[in-house]
Amino acid sequence: MSDIVLYTVISLTLLGILAAVILYFVAQKFKVVEDPRIDAVEEVLPHANCGGCGYPGCRPFAEACVKADSLDDLFCPVGGNEVMAKVAEILGLEAVEAEPRVAVIRCQGSYEHRPRTSRYEGASTCAIEHALYTGDTDCPYGCLGLGDCVAACDFEALFMDEKTGLPYVIDENCVACGACVEACPRDIIELRKRNKRDRKIFVSCINEEKGGVARQYCKVACIGCSKCFQVCPFDAITMGNNLAFIDSDACKLCRKCVVVCPTDSILEINFPPRKEPKEVKPAAAKKAVPPKQEKAAPAVAAAKETVAVKEKEQEKEKKAENIPAEEKASEKDAGGEDEKKKEAGGSSPEEKKGS
């Protein structure tokens, strides 16, 4: 009996030693000499491994930083300037300040704004629906609402709003890694400069159709009328492809364009209420709500209000017969500017908030 124990112990010990020796040589052979700075850089990175920098993960990014001669093209959106400064310090390079950015959804085609013209059935991803056809509305540019962007977001910064069928961004969670921009088959999401208090002004539409056609698709489409372009005192707005585009770097957030837009296509978010009584419209919308709730809460409120105001239309819409409501609204919008604003006190704010 004791023999067996002895032999077992001896053979196991020998085996162990043998394995250790082999392992040692293997480790020697495959040893990779790595720049220790890679570890150092990786250490200060946020370890989100989101790929927002354009590299597969934090370590490859660290390697790229160490290899690079300058940090011009290298930026970690999650860590931002702070982290990049540290990286620069480790490597003895110049940090390039980048403006913090945030994702915005350039589509307001909610159920209310955009009539559904077919029903989509099948795999629940935007990529597939996009490949198949225009989607369940006529707009070939607008949001498909199946949430590929939400699935792509690693930071819980995107959610699908069930009321509108559109995604919305939680500004404070967004690190501008760009995953959603990549994921969206329609290029709706844009990374824009992050302003003070997360204020944003942007044209929330990318429909390149001519005005009339665009409006058929969607009540709040940009029709390329260039009113905003004319009113902008800072030349921040450019026109092209029947669309207005606001350059977030040039925009001074004066909000003049928002007022003139005949289709409510320009969104202003996180602004304090307006002073002029004439411009009730945005005032109602922009209470100083903390950004996180800003989109979700009013959406609910808006929906409730809408029910109260246009109960009948709502019912009809439920039956997917929203054409009458649609037409009425467009008639209203087609009216003169001032008239519209007067009327708008009733309906427009919710629309705006509801998006």
């Binding site: 029903r119 059935e121 099948g122 795999a123």
Partner: protein, 331 residues
Amino acid sequence: MDKLLTVSMSPHAHGRDTTPKLMLGVVIALLPAWAASVWFFGWGALYVPVLSVLFSVIFEYLIAKYLLKKEPSIRDGSAVVTGLLLAFTLPVNIPVWILAIGTLVAIGVGKMSFGGLGTNPFNPALVGRVFLFISFPVQMTSWPLPKGFATADAVTGATPLGLLKEGMRQGEHVANMVRELPTNYDMFMGHMGGSMGEVAAVALLLGFLYLLWRRIITWHIPVTILTTVFLFSGLMWLINPADNASPVFHLLSGGLMLGAIFMATDYVTSPMTPQGMVWYGVGIGLLTVIIRRWGAYPEGVQFAILIMNAFVPLINMYVKPKRFGEVKKNG
């Protein structure tokens, strides 16, 4: 047009098969064997499977609803099949409380703990059966001998395989034991001790034909298992008939037919490609004979199937179907 058209990707047609229909097909295929066991073992064979099915369905429902908190999917009928198969591997005089434990293990551990239908690596019915076999060896090996419809108190005894193993352990020659063992014809018709569903090979084969006709399963797995068992045991028998039972005996005894036709072909736990199925069948056949001949237990089918279940992901990974246009490319 006031109604909206539906748009989806092709195809716009769908075949008639659905999961519940396939499961129902398996149940129908099991009916002849069930009828046979009622014939042999009396009324007990009627209500034990019913109870087993009830337990399975209830457990699946409860676990899905309260533990996994998802929509219970008993509609798919897989719990019915699991319950029925489990009952078929048990002796008819099984106490109800053991049956309840068996179904709980089969459904709870064998299936739901992996996430429900489609994700379990091991055949749930066999998991339940093996658990009972190990936990309650006494109850699980007192096989009632078929005494026909009339007798209520069945006499219990060993299965032919049990007799064989016992005999061999005592060093007896197989040739001498033949007298104690049932004849091939008796075994084919089901006149032997054993679990409820396994005794009548003829009824099981009927079920097999039905499954093939309905295209619920393909021939690959059952046929390769049975051929492998036949060839391998036949080889050993030819080499040394004194120590080995005849291949026909191997084919007809124990749970081989039930296992090969109904257990090994379980969709979830069998390979996906015809080629893989052949490998899997050969593996089960070899292991069965090895366990029967050299293992500690008289019967090896269940263990063989469970062992091969573990290899299925590997088989799926490496055994690929023949791709169209592949041969030409290489030569």
